[in-house]
């Protein structure tokens, strides 16, 4: 090649021209090859350089090398820019409208009665009470007689019972479970019995079936003050540590002394409202010391052991906890209701 054709400026211009039309990484690759490749322009120049004399070689060689280094840097720069452009282009394809609705997993709910049951059982389990169960269809003996509610007893005024046949009833409370458990084992006894119970009542505030949890503890030296202790812990677990509660005398044939337990109204906080009938208190459960006759009925000696028992309506507790004002809502099974809990 002729010396005069080795024009660095021409080379620089040519490179500039080639680079200025680069659009894609492919272009880059191709152009890079034609310029820096083994048979590229620089290679051509280097071959031509060999023909020059020593001085020229040194001058040209130096200039050529400077140009080559800067060209390489230039290509790297352009490559990085093009790659970034490409990445951005690819990324653009993944764009979504984040305001479109997501796919919510389908999740059902347990009935509020179940949830309340579990909450009650949880608290009593932690206090050492075991769960015991019995039949819904019960002998008159277990539902009434053994619990000191003989035929014609005034206590039967309080409940109207479904009969299956003479001597067989739908249990009106879960207390018969207490008798069955005590018949089957010796003290100490420490159980709760959750379950369905039935009474012939169907109006705005009663359903023919509802749910109860009853508890029983029998041992040596079980005291009325222990009943207060256990129920205080329970109520404060369920309704909060600041819940006020009071025990007041009441009557149940199977307990003596008997106590009705009220909590400070959770709706009006004691100021008086429709729910608490302006008293500031809500009846929440019935309780008492197991009547000695009941202990005798199961063969326990009331001189040796004593115990307490308590019972509560699950719907009542659920209504207060969730603020439900109509007991029938539990049994309509409307999804708009069930989905709230």
């Amino acid at each position: 090649m002729m010396g005069e054709t080795l024009n660095i400026d021409d080379l620089r211009n040519r490179i500039e021209n080639e680079i200025s039309v680069l659009k894609t990484l492919e272009d880059l690759k191709r152009v890079k090859a034609t310029i820096l490749g083994r048979k590229g322009v620089f290679a051509e120049f280097l071959d031509a350089l060999k023909l020059l004399d020593k001085d020229q070689k040194r001058v040209f060689g130096k200039e050529l090398n400077i140009l080559k280094v800067s060209t390489e840097a230039r290509f790297n720069e352009i490559e990085a820019a093009l790659m970034e452009e490409e990445r951005a282009k690819q990324e653009e394809l993944t764009w979504v409208d984040i305001t479109m609705p997501g796919k919510v997993p389908l999740l059902g709910k347990r009935h509020p009665i179940t949830q309340t049951f579990e909450e009650i059982i949880r608290v009593f389990s932690s206090l050492g009470f075991a769960v015991a169960e019995g039949p819904d269809i019960e002998l008159d003996y277990y539902n009434f007689e053994a619990l000191n509610i003989p035929k014609h007893h005034p206590a039967r005024d309080m409940q109207d019972t479904f009969y299956i046949k003479p001597g067989v009833v739908l249990r009106t409370h879960t207390s018969p479970v207490q008798i069955r458990v005590m018949e089957a084992q010796l003290p100490p006894v420490k159980i709760i019995s959750p379950g369905s119970v039935y009474r012939c009542d169907h109006d705005v505030s009663h359903t023919p079936m509802f749910h109860q949890v009853e508890g029983l503890m029998v041992d040596k030296h079980v005291r009325f003050s222990d009943l207060k202790g256990i129920l205080s812990v329970f109520i404060q677990e369920i309704f909060g540590a600041n819940t006020r509660l009071r025990f007041r005398p009441s009557y149940f044939p199977f307990t003596e002394p008997s106590a009705e337990v009220d909590i400070g109204c959770v709706i009006c906080e004691g100021a008086g409202c429709r729910v608490c009938k302006d008293t500031g208190w809500l009846e929440i459960l019935g309780s008492g010391m197991v009547h000695p006759q009941v202990l005798r009925n199961v063969g326990y000696d009331p001189e040796e052991v004593s115990g307490f028992a308590f019972g509560m309506g699950v719907e009542r507790i659920a209504m207060l906890k969730f603020g439900i004002d109509d007991i029938r809502q539990f049994y309509y099974n409307d999804i708009r209701f069930l989905s709230q809990f």
């Binding site: 796919k103 997993p105 389908l106 999740l107 059902g108 709910k109 347990r110 009935h111 009665i113 179940t114 050492g128 009470f129 075991a130 769960v131 819904d136 269809i137 019960e138 005034p154 206590a155 309080m158 479904f162 009969y163 299956i164 001597g167 067989v168 100490p188 420490k190 369905s196 012939c200 169907h202 023919p208 079936m209 503890m217 041992d219 040596k220 030296h221 005291r223 009325f224 003050s225 222990d226 207060k228 202790g229 009071r246 007041r248 005398p249 009441s250 009557y251 044939p253 003596e256 002394p257 009938k277 010391m289 000695p292 004593s306 539990f330 049994y331 099974n333 409307d334 999804i335 069930l338």
Partner: protein
């Protein structure tokens, strides 16, 4: 029991706000449900006295009364005929306001100026009586404000008396409790009968009791020559406040004394009593008796009857007979006061469906010691109101029982209550409610029980009295002693909870239905009469047709809940319910099993913009069943179901071994229509006890394989109705190295084609191609040995 404070105040001094008293009574076990305030409905009415009565100059049916109001005498025009000179009457002066807002203005009536008006009880809002002017009791001062008259300003306590405290169905009974609260003693009414020159009851009537167990005490007292009229205002006012209706002086007195002392009384017309004798006996055969309400009552052997010389005149303690009833012309009265056997009265009242105020008290037991006092009180009041003469003495039979006593040890009281009360505190507490200590012994005391406390039978009753008076509030809250026991986990409980959690996490809402259903449900579900599910447990006294029997399966109730929600706009529903089902059984009690039912209808969601949302089909419900079985480690298989309520092409029974534990499938259209459902419902019902019996909730760790698994896909042509399950079972049987066989595609062009993916896994080594290839050969051979199956290549 409604107790007017003004009345109560005659027995104890009520120096306490009625609302505070209500709170204290509530804390004593007498829950006060309401404190009702009574205020006069009028204003500006004073007490006047009639000085003269002159005819109205222009109207024959009116009079002009000169009425003194103490300060002045006013001429007031009056239309009523019952006023006499000297009567005290209510004078509504100009500006006064009467009941219902009526305002008094100065008015000229037929030419005579009347600066006020005399009022009837109705005009004052005191009662419904508008028959004449209200004649005010003589002891009220002329010129005083009528609004201040006794009884018009009052508080009535509406008390829920515990069923064992019949003694507190009276002002006296409540007064005793109030006395104990206020540290007073309730005072009995003091009066003196004047019988100085009257005949003797003994000469007028005879009395016998055939069975003193049925009637241990019976008293007859008599009053002669009375005239029947209304009772005075104060008495009617009290009776009304207690929630009863005034009738006439005699009936009102019997009711008044019952409300006051708790002793029901019955008045006979003396002249209606044949042979002038009363016999109390127990009926020995069935008979019919007409009670004073005109009804024929069927009596049976055992009922207590009051008879005269010719037959029954009253059903003891429940209702009198028409034949001896008090009428307006009655002049002479024989008054009964008695103690009847509470159980007999209760049984008779219950059978006859009569629950009167009297029977309510008799069946809880009245105060045997108070029987004669109440009779005396009644004839005294009758005498004062209706005139006549009280006869001397009484007829009485009194089979006195032995006074009841109870021994209680101090230690037991403290041990049961968990609070160290002083002995003296115990004794004074008991004394305050008339429980007196007969004697103190070394470690306890003997207490005597008064006749009105039928509820006290053993030491625990006395301990309750101590606690009640001491105050439950003063008992501390303690932690039970003794060793803490760890309670065993209830396996059934764990299963039930686990299933509920599983189903809820599968998107099912839990239902709770009543455990009843209708015999129509059996029919709707086409349950054969021979099927145990037709042997429903019937309820003798169901609350309605829908709840006539105990359910033998849950699905019917679930369909009802689905229909309920579809009718309210829901389209896509997943429900489950867990509960008991009941079957008749030879033994004394029916059998009960726990069951779980779940159902789905519609589609998972109505739409999702990205994905298609197909409607549910058989494989959705099947998947839920499979997942449930997997969760509890139960090995099940399926077989075509013959349940009549399922679409036979999409119905399966779920088996453990040979035992059917439930079913699943698409409910038949005809069944759905009988519940008003018009869209497909897929449903399953399984016995949870059987799942628990064959399953396990205890997870066991299996080592994770250290060698890679190999998968191979296979495709087969097969006959339409060849069960894929059979092919899968064959393949699984080929080698223990085969750990899973899945169906990843199924399609049909000319022939049905199925694509299976088989997973091979060894715990010992890395599987070689050779090994897998060998198994592959066997798999193809095994699969194609099923009738109608060909390898697709």
């Amino acid at each position: 029991m409604r107790i007017p404070c003004e009345w109560l105040n005659e027995f104890v001094v009520l120096d306490i706000d009625p609302r505070d008293l209500a709170m204290k009574l509530t804390m004593r076990g007498f829950e006060v449900e309401a404190v009702e305030e009574y205020r006069p409905a009028f204003d500006g009415v004073c007490v006047g006295q009639i000085m003269t009565i002159d005819p109205h100059p222009n109207a024959g049916n009116l009079t002009v009364c000169q009425v003194s109001t103490g300060l002045e005498t006013l001429p007031i025009v009056c239309g009523a005929k019952n006023v006499r000179v000297g009567d005290k009457v209510p004078v509504a002066l100009v500006g006064a306001r009467l009941a219902e807002g009526f305002l008094i203005e100065k008015k000229s009536i037929r030419g005579v100026e009347s600066p006020g008006m005399l009022c009837s009880e109705r005009e004052l809002g005191l009662s419904d009586d508008h028959s004449g002017i209200f004649i005010i009791p003589e002891d009220v001062a002329v010129g005083s404000r009528l609004a201040e008259m006794k009884g018009l300003n009052d508080f009535v306590l509406d008390i829920s008396v515990p069923p064992n405290r019949g003694d507190c169905l009276s002002v006296l009974g409540i007064a005793r409790e109030v006395g104990s609260i206020l540290n007073q003693r309730a005072k009995l009414p003091i009066f003196k009968l004047d019988t100085s020159d009257s005949e003797s009851v003994e000469d007028q009537i005879s009395l016998s009791i055939a069975n003193t167990e049925a009637c241990p005490r019976y008293v007859l007292r008599m009053i002669k020559g009375i005239s029947i009229g209304p009772s005075p205002f104060w008495m009617r006012n009290r009776i009304q406040k207690c929630g009863m209706r005034p009738i006439n002086a005699i009936v009102d007195v019997t009711n008044y004394v019952m409300l006051e002392l708790g002793q029901p009384l019955h008045a006979f017309d003396y002249h209606a009593l044949a042979d002038k004798r009363i016999e109390v006996r127990v009926a020995d055969s069935d008979s019919v008796f007409k009670t004073l309400d005109g009804e024929d009552r069927k009596l049976v052997a055992g009922d207590i009857m009051i008879c005269d010389g010719s037959g029954p005149v009253a059903i003891a303690g429940i209702m009198g007979g028409e034949n001896s009833e008090i009428t307006d012309s009655t002049r002479d009265i024989a008054l009964e006061s008695a103690f009847f056997n509470p159980l007999t009265i209760r049984e008779t009242a219950r059978r006859l469906g009569i629950r009167s105020e009297a029977s309510l008290r008799f069946e809880k037991g009245v105060d045997g010691d108070n029987v004669d006092f109440a009779a005396e009180r009644a004839v005294f009041l009758m005498n004062g109101i209706a005139g006549g003469t009280v006869l001397k003495g009484k007829r009485e039979i009194y089979e006195r029982g032995i006074g009841k006593t109870i021994f209680v040890s101090f230690a037991k009281i403290i041990d049961i209550l968990g609070v160290p009360i002083e002995h003296s505190g115990i004794i004074s507490a008991l004394r305050s409610v008339d429980l007196h200590i007969l004697r103190e012994e070394e470690n306890g005391f003997v207490v005597s029980i008064p006749g009105f406390r039928h509820d006290l039978e053993e030491y625990m009753d006395i301990i309750e009295e101590v606690a009640r008076i001491y105050g439950y509030d003063h008992v501390p809250a303690t932690t039970p002693g003794g060793a803490q026991q760890v309670q065993k986990r209830n396996r059934k409980e764990v299963y039930l909870r686990g299933m509920k959690e599983y189903l809820a996490s599968c998107g099912f809402y839990e239902l709770v239905n009543f455990a009843f259903f209708n015999l129509k449900d059996i029919e709707n579900f086409r349950i054969a009469p021979s099927d145990p599910r037709s042997s429903c447990v019937p309820i003798m006294n169901p609350i309605g047709k829908d709840y006539e029997v105990m359910r033998t399966f849950i699905a019917a109730n679930v369909l009802k809940s689905i229909a309920y929600n579809l009718n309210r706009g829901a389209k896509n529903i997943r429900f489950f319910e867990m509960g008991k089902i009941f079957f008749l059984d030879g033994s004394s009690l029916p059998v009960e099993y726990p069951s779980v039912c779940f159902a789905m209808t519609g589609r998972e969601r109505e739409y999702f913009w990205r994905d298609p949302c197909p409607e549910y089909d058989f494989f959705d419900i099947k998947g839920v069943v499979e997942g449930l079985m997997d969760q509890f480690g139960v090995q099940t298989s399926v077989t075509r179901s013959s349940e009549e309520f399922l679409n036979r092409n999409r119905a399966a029974d779920v088996l453990v071994g040979d035992v059917k534990i439930g079913w699943m499938g698409e409910i038949r259209d005809e069944v759905l229509r009988s519940y008003g459902i018009e869209q497909a419902v897929y449903c399953a019902e399984l016995r949870t006890d059987l799942i628990a019996q064959h399953g396990s909730v205890d997870a066991k760790y299996r080592p994770i394989p250290r060698f890679p698994q190999v998968t191979r896909d296979f495709a087969f042509y097969m006959d339409e109705k060849t069960p894929v399950g059979a092919i899968i079972d064959r393949i699984k049987g080929v080698s223990p190295l085969i750990t899973a066989v899945g169906v990843f595609d199924m399609f049909k062009k000319e022939t049905k084609s199925i694509a299976l993916r088989v997973v091979f896994q060894s715990f010992e080594e890395t599987l070689t191609d050779e090994t897998v290839n060998a198994l592959q050969e066997i798999i193809i051979r095994e699969a194609t040995s099923v009738q109608g199956v060909m390898l697709r290549t």
